[in-house]
């Protein structure tokens, strides 16, 4: 594993510890009040989910067309992380919605498309787990379609009428909210890089174990 890993781990741990303090010090939003503070982890988790879906899709394309096993290992790790951050987004969002909109869930474009994106990556993981021989290539195709879905999920709030805040919210954040949002986004991106490296390492060691088993049979 890279030598930068322990250093990054320390930095991310410090940022994770400081993030709640920074969020607590950020002023309340005028119409939503305290519940809007979910935004500082909800939206960055969504960004990480989208990034992870792209990483999985690109790595899957490299695996399909260049036959690189390392790309397949990265794709599998990224798919798991897309599912993980998807769970965070899909649980923290309704907790916000309950107070801000008065309902836990609404079948509007953004919410439904986010759920579908998460389901696509769950389908990828199920294929990898139970698909049998050759399922890695089939799953790679699913991942490419999953990644292609991301821009539609992102733009859905601007194209269709939805309850969900539009993409203009982030660029228009006032300075006292923008700093906290950027800090939390960087924290979760750092955490993502760390977990992705650890999960890819697990797949690499599994591949080495498989080679050893083959060597033992010979």
């Amino acid at each position: 594993m890279n030598k930068a890993f322990p250093l990054l781990a320390v930095v991310v741990a410090a940022m994770l510890a400081y993030a709640p303090v920074m969020i607590a010090r950020t002023p309340y939003e005028s119409t939503m009040g305290l519940v809007q503070k979910i935004f500082y982890f909800h939206a960055p988790s969504g960004i990480v989910m989208f990034l992870s879906a792209f990483v999985c899709g690109i790595a899957s394309a490299v695996f399909l067309f260049k036959r690189r096993a390392s790309a397949d290992r990265l794709a599998l790790a990224a798919a798991e992380l897309t599912a993980l951050f998807g769970v965070i987004v899909l649980i923290s969002g309704p907790l916000w919605a309950r107070k801000a909109w008065g309902v836990w869930w609404d079948w509007d474009a953004r919410l439904t498309m986010s759920l579908v994106l998460w389901l696509i990556f769950m389908a990828y993981l199920l294929l990898r787990r139970y698909g049998g021989p050759g399922s890695d290539r089939l799953a790679a195709g699913v991942a490419i379609f999953g990644a292609a879905n991301v821009p539609f999920v992102y733009w859905s709030v601007n194209v269709w009428r939805t309850l969900h805040p539009k993409t203009s919210v982030v660029p228009r954040l006032p300075p006292e909210m923008r700093g906290t949002f950027l800090f939390c986004t960087l924290t979760l991106l750092g955490l993502y890089v760390l977990i992705l490296a650890a999960r890819t390492r697990l797949e690499q060691r599994r591949a080495e174990l498989e080679s050893l088993h083959l060597a033992l049979e010979d």
Partner: protein, 98 residues
Amino acid sequence: MKRIKTFIVALIAAVALLTPVAAVAHDQQQPPKTADTEYEPVTGEEQEQLPAAPLVIGAYAVVWLAVIVYLWSIWRRLSQVEREIAQVARRIEAGGRR
């Protein structure tokens, strides 16, 4: 002169009647500021009508719990693979000595 007086009275009446209408129309032209297009910090005392704290705490607990459980699952799987690698390496080494 009477015509001028009538004209002035009519003009004042028209202005008096149209001013509120124009003001209402102007208000309607200004789109209401909503939280789905822009966020702004609250000014003055904070007002909360429904308790939001359990929802905020719940959301952050989910984030921490999900990450911790996932990290634990990676650590557990990695330990198992490392154990198996050590076992297979020992078997290969023992086979090579014979």
